[in-house]
Each structure stands twice: as structure tokens, then as C-alpha cells.
Subunit: 136 residues, 2 copies
């Protein structure tokens, strides 16, 4: 028998600092990058604390975890519905604001149902401006 763990959150200055780092549009730092930022304010902070806090914050629905295949996850403090595009050269992630309702466009009813489909994950790929403009 599984017993739901009761979980209460309490304030911590470190978690506030993580939130503050993520309070910026079109910014999708990795844990390491968040760590470096938070360290400026709390030199003693540990990497594990950052990991624990981003996990908690994303479970609380306050931030969004962006899974990156073959690389560190990135986090996004902007909870408005949008998508992401990743530069296949430098790895940077940018916001994609799709005009229209993606749920209408990807009509799950058109897909064969041996599963009950609960969602989808879509991620765009491309080359960003700064990589495009680089001579090499």
C-alpha cells in the first residue's frame, strides 16, 4: 500500500535566489548557470541545493524544466504557454511563440489509440542568428 507523503514547503533564502535568477524572459539557464548566479549572493551555496530547489519549484508549478537530449536540463521561469527552439550549433534555447492553438493543430484524435494519449512534447531545432553570422 502506497502512502502519500505529506509535504510542506518552507521559506529559504536559497530558493528565493533561484526564483530570482529565473525571473527573466527568454532565459533558460542550466543548473550550473543558476549555481554561478546564486553563488554571487550566497558564496556557500551547494550544487545539491540548486538541484533540490529546481526540482521542488518545478513540482510546485513555479518553473518549467526543459529536458535537453544529451545535455543538462534547462529551466524557465516563464509559465506562459510557449515552446522552445534549440540551436543545434551552440545549444542555446530560445522561446517560440506559436500563433494559434497547438492542440488544434496536433489533433490527437487523428492518431491511433492503443494508448491513452495524455500529451506531447515538441521541441524545435535550428541555427540561431549569432551562429548563422559566424564565419568559420
Amino acid at each position: 500500500m502506497i502512502v502519500e507523503a505529506k509535504m510542506t514547503y518552507r521559506f529559504s533564502k536559497q530558493r528565493e535566489a533561484v526564483m530570482a535568477v529565473l525571473d527573466k524572459k527568454n532565459y533558460h539557464p542550466t543548473v550550473d548557470e543558476i549555481y554561478d548566479m546564486v553563488k554571487k549572493q550566497y558564496a556557500q551555496v551547494s550544487l545539491a541545493t540548486i538541484y533540490r530547489n529546481v526540482e521542488q519549484l518545478s513540482q510546485m508549478g513555479k518553473i518549467w524544466k526543459i529536458e535537453i537530449p544529451e545535455g543538462p536540463a534547462r529551466y524557465d521561469g516563464n509559465m506562459e504557454k510557449h515552446y522552445h527552439i534549440r540551436c543545434t550549433k551552440c545549444g542555446n534555447v530560445n522561446d517560440v511563440w506559436f500563433k494559434g492553438n497547438m492542440n488544434k493543430i496536433i489533433n490527437l484524435k487523428n492518431i491511433e489509440k492503443k494508448f491513452s494519449i495524455t500529451g506531447y512534447r515538441i521541441e524545435f531545432e535550428g541555427i540561431c542568428d549569432s551562429c548563422n553570422n559566424k564565419t568559420h
Copy 2:
């Protein structure tokens, strides 16, 4: 200046065995699972060999690597164009045969262009039959 490395492949029974494992429809094993299969035939085979071979085969365009967020990659020997759905309970991956042209449905022209978009990755999520039917 970057010099393209010249690469020639040569036959190996281990790589044949990996291909043989993947020659089955709607089967998406991890490296560990492939390893276990190949070991039945070649007890001495090493995990590194499986990794090197799946990497090579997918570069040769003979198999497809399915990136799984937070988990081991899976491989698919079926190169016909299709999509995947992953059970969020048990992690199993199944094929999704989408009726229609996904490229028409996801019209990249509708998306703002600060990037040059080269592609997208879409992965469905759901609960598979066997997980649905499990009492718990």
C-alpha cells in the same frame, strides 16, 4: 581548418548481431537490453561495443536513436517515418503511425523566425494498455 576524417566501415559479427536484435517492428530496446540479447550469442561482448555500434549504425542511417528525457536512449531498427509514444508509468515506447503529413500540420511558416528552423522533434506521452489495466 577542419579536415573531414575519412571513415570506412568493415564487417563485424557483433555489429551484425546488434542489427539482428533491432530487426523487429515496434521494438525499442535500450543499450542494456541489446547488450543482454547479443550476449546470448557472444558471451564476451562488451557494453562499450554495443554503444560504439549503435552510434555507428545510427550515423550510417540504419537505425534510429530515440532520446528519452531522464533515461537511457532507445533504438529503433524501423526506418519508415513514424513517431513514438512513451508510457509515463512504465517507460515503454510504442510506435505511432500518424495519418497525414506532420510537416503540413506543423507549418513552420507560422512560427516567428529569429532562428532558421531546421526541424522539430515530437514525442507523445500516455499510459499504455497494460499499465491502464493494472489494479494497484
